[in-house]
């Protein structure tokens, strides 16, 4: 069984190579960065309904598993098996579950801090859609444990600029761990 080599997840995210790079500080760059910062804020503060408002109706959120290979074999991502493979319906159910009294995995909730940075923004073949590659460093404090659970990844997003504001249209989470150090992913990445 051969791993799928996603050398850069960008083509997989949009089925074509990224277009023109948008420089740091450009207006559209600032808007995209602002969107990601705002998204992290909503999730960290448990504003899940508001977060759902940022998702396009056709949003797809995936996260392939990753294995540890020698360098010449690529980065170890495998498209066959995933940590996440959620569409809007699944994300909506999971987010709305957080408001019920039976979401035990996150109730009491973890204290989570999502640090989003290193945004590289590119145009795509679709007008108004941008490939946004950002780094995510997530700290999760659970119960009375004094150690944080941490998670880090690159996220390759397709952000769509619409009349109703920016929307997340696609997200591929490119995790840095082969063996995940989180007991569950009952949070949104």
């Amino acid at each position: 069984m051969q791993p799928v080599d996603i050398k850069s997840a960008a083509p997989a995210a949009n089925s074509q190579p990224p277009g023109k790079a948008i420089p740091f500080g450009a207006g559209v760059y600032n808007e995209a960065m602002h969107f990601l910062i705002e998204e992290a804020y909503l999730l960290d503060d448990g504003l899940f309904n508001e977060w759902l408002g940022l998702l396009a109706d056709d949003v797809q959120c995936t996260m392939p598993v990753r294995q540890s290979f020698n360098r010449k074999k690529g980065n170890g991502f495998n498209d066959g098996m995933n940590w996440l493979f959620d569409d809007k319906g699944a994300l909506t159910f999971k987010a709305q579950r957080m408001y019920t009294d039976s979401a035990f995995a996150e109730d009491p909730p973890s204290r989570v801090r999502r640090i989003v940075s290193n945004l590289r923004l590119h145009e795509t073949a679709v007008a108004g859609e941008y490939l946004a590659q950002s780094y995510l460093l997530l700290h999760r404090s659970r119960g009375d444990a004094h150690q944080f659970d941490t998670f880090s990844a690159r996220r390759d997003d397709i952000l769509r600029k619409t009349d109703a504001g920016w929307k997340l249209a696609k997200r591929i989470v490119l995790v840095d761990q082969a063996v995940l150090g989180l007991a569950n992913l009952a949070l949104f990445l």
Binding site: N82, F85, A183
Partner: protein, 461 residues
């Protein structure tokens, strides 16, 4: 050199004088909570459970070509599982016979030999010693290759699942699985070409003892209506109706500690058909068993006998545990839109010390299943199973609590209760083997799991 195993054999007490047999009360059916965090018990488990039973290390389809390998753990020992030239499978200790370095550091790949990076000793695909650099100069008196191969475990494959066992005197895998094979066949051998994995397993670490998850998969149907109450939003299940949580579904326990819950699909089919009685074949067409895409259903109908098809259409084997540390999950559950989706996985709970384990989950489909069907399986898995599944996320919240609570001086004096049994009732015409517990679902299979566990820990078998 004394063999460490010889020293340990026959040991019946822990260093503080507590006898191992006192950790279980076989009359009252209670088990000491101390088992969930005691480091000494953990060491005994590695010796008496993980080195003596058939332990799952992977799936055949992960290493389908000659030279394919994966690195895994067997107990807490690193192993290489590789496909030999003759098509057979080997499982060998991933530790160099020279000075103990890790021989293979990749998680998977294809190779014709394994070369240790430290001094360069080379081993064949089957683990036998092949050579060393500067052999003549370094070892002028020669090398006894027969003593230098990687240590090998026995390997057995059932339903495509690869098991390994360090114990030369243990019964065969077929005997170990025994009556359980009937149910495994209906999960993993239901199509002529068998199943394959979607890809490498999900692997994640939970700060809990491996037994918290393993004994739950030993047949704990009781927790679903409470811990997994979220499911009710999709199934319409009411917290007060035991049928909604399959607590009336027959459970089966077999010798050696395996078990399976056979879910009753009656209510579901009645809801689909509006009360009209359906034939088994009609039912299977409406909802082909998990892993079998609709277009491959005819292959299954041709392969299986009438009795088996009827069984799959009424009370198919669903959720169960393979002793000591594995589980299978084979069922349908409604997705967020109410449409039932298939789930098919097996998982192992790998010990990483008394208070930590790795959850390792493989997802399967029939060999040759369409990409569309694979996507459906990816979707349903992400929604409900494994790290991101909203069902198993809640389980992962309970196990660490059980573990840390058993560390306290007082907490470890408590017991786990398995008081209540359904008893053995085999419904008429039940086609399978084993002890069938039809009736309200109680503690029978989990108690069976613990009895086998203690038989092993006390070296009764």
């Amino acid at each position: 050199m004394t063999n460490e195993n010889d020293l340990k054999r026959g040991r019946t007490a822990l260093v503080d004088g507590t006898s191992i047999s006192s950790l279980v009360d076989r009359d009252k059916r209670e088990v000491s909570t101390r088992l969930f965090s005691d480091p000494e018990i953990y060491q005994l488990e590695l010796e008496r459970i993980f080195a003596k039973n058939w332990i799952i290390v992977g799936h055949e389809s992960e290493i389908s070509e000659v030279g394919d390998f994966v690195t895994r753990r067997l107990g807490d020992d690193p192993v290489i599982v590789a496909r030999r030239r003759d098509g057979g499978i080997d499982c060998m200790l991933n530790v160099c016979s020279h000075r103990g370095a890790l021989v293979c550091r990749e998680e998977a790949g294809n190779s014709s030999v394994f070369r240790c990076i430290y001094h360069g000793w080379i081993f064949n695909l089957d683990g036998s010693f092949r050579g060393a650099p500067f052999k003549e100069e370094m070892y002028p008196d020669g090398m006894d290759a027969s003593r230098l191969g990687l240590r090998k475990a026995r390997v057995g494959v059932y339903g495509g699942i690869i098991f390994a066992n360090w114990d030369e005197s243990a019964p065969s895998l077929e005997d170990y699985l025994g009556d359980y094979k009937y149910y495994l066949n209906l999960i993993f051998n239901k199509v002529p070409n068998g199943m394959e994995v979607l890809g490498p397993p999900q692997r994640f670490v939970i700060n809990a003892n491996w037994k918290t998850a393993s004994e739950q998969f030993g047949g704990d149907a009781y927790h679903a209506g409470q811990l997994h109450r979220s499911l009710g939003a999709l199934t319409g299940g009411s917290p007060t109706n035991p049928r909604d949580w399959q607590l009336h579904a027959p459970k089966v326990s077999t010798e050696n500690g395996h078990n399976i819950i056979c879910f009753d699909l009656g209510d579901m089919y009645r809801a689909i058909s509006g009360g009209k009685e359906l034939s088994p074949i009609e039912k299977l067409h409406i909802l082909p068993p998990s892993g079998v895409p609709p277009e491959m259903l005819p292959e299954m109908l041709q392969l299986l006998g009438e009795k088996e098809l009827e069984f799959l259409a009424t009370t198919p084997p669903g959720n169960g545990g393979i002793f000591p540390n594995a589980g299978v999950w084979n069922m349908h559950n409604p997705m967020y839109n109410g449409v039932p989706a298939p789930f098919l996985s097996f998982r192992t709970y790998l010990p990483l010390g008394p208070d930590k384990f790795e959850f390792c989950m493989w997802v399967l489909v029939a060999k040759g299943a369409s990409e569309e069907y694979r996507d459906l399986m990816r979707r349903s898995t992400s929604f409900m199973q494994g790290a991101s599944g909203f069902i198993e996320g809640d389980d992962a919240e309970v196990w660490p609590g059980q573990t840390s609570a058993s560390r306290g001086y007082i907490g470890r004096q408590g017991t786990l209760k398995y008081w209540t049994l359904t008893g053995e009732h085999k419904p008429e015409g039940w086609p399978g083997e084993g002890n069938v517990h039809a009736g309200f679902s109680r503690d029978d299979p989990q108690w069976n799991w613990w009895q086998r566990y203690f038989d092993r820990l006390e070296e009764k078998v």
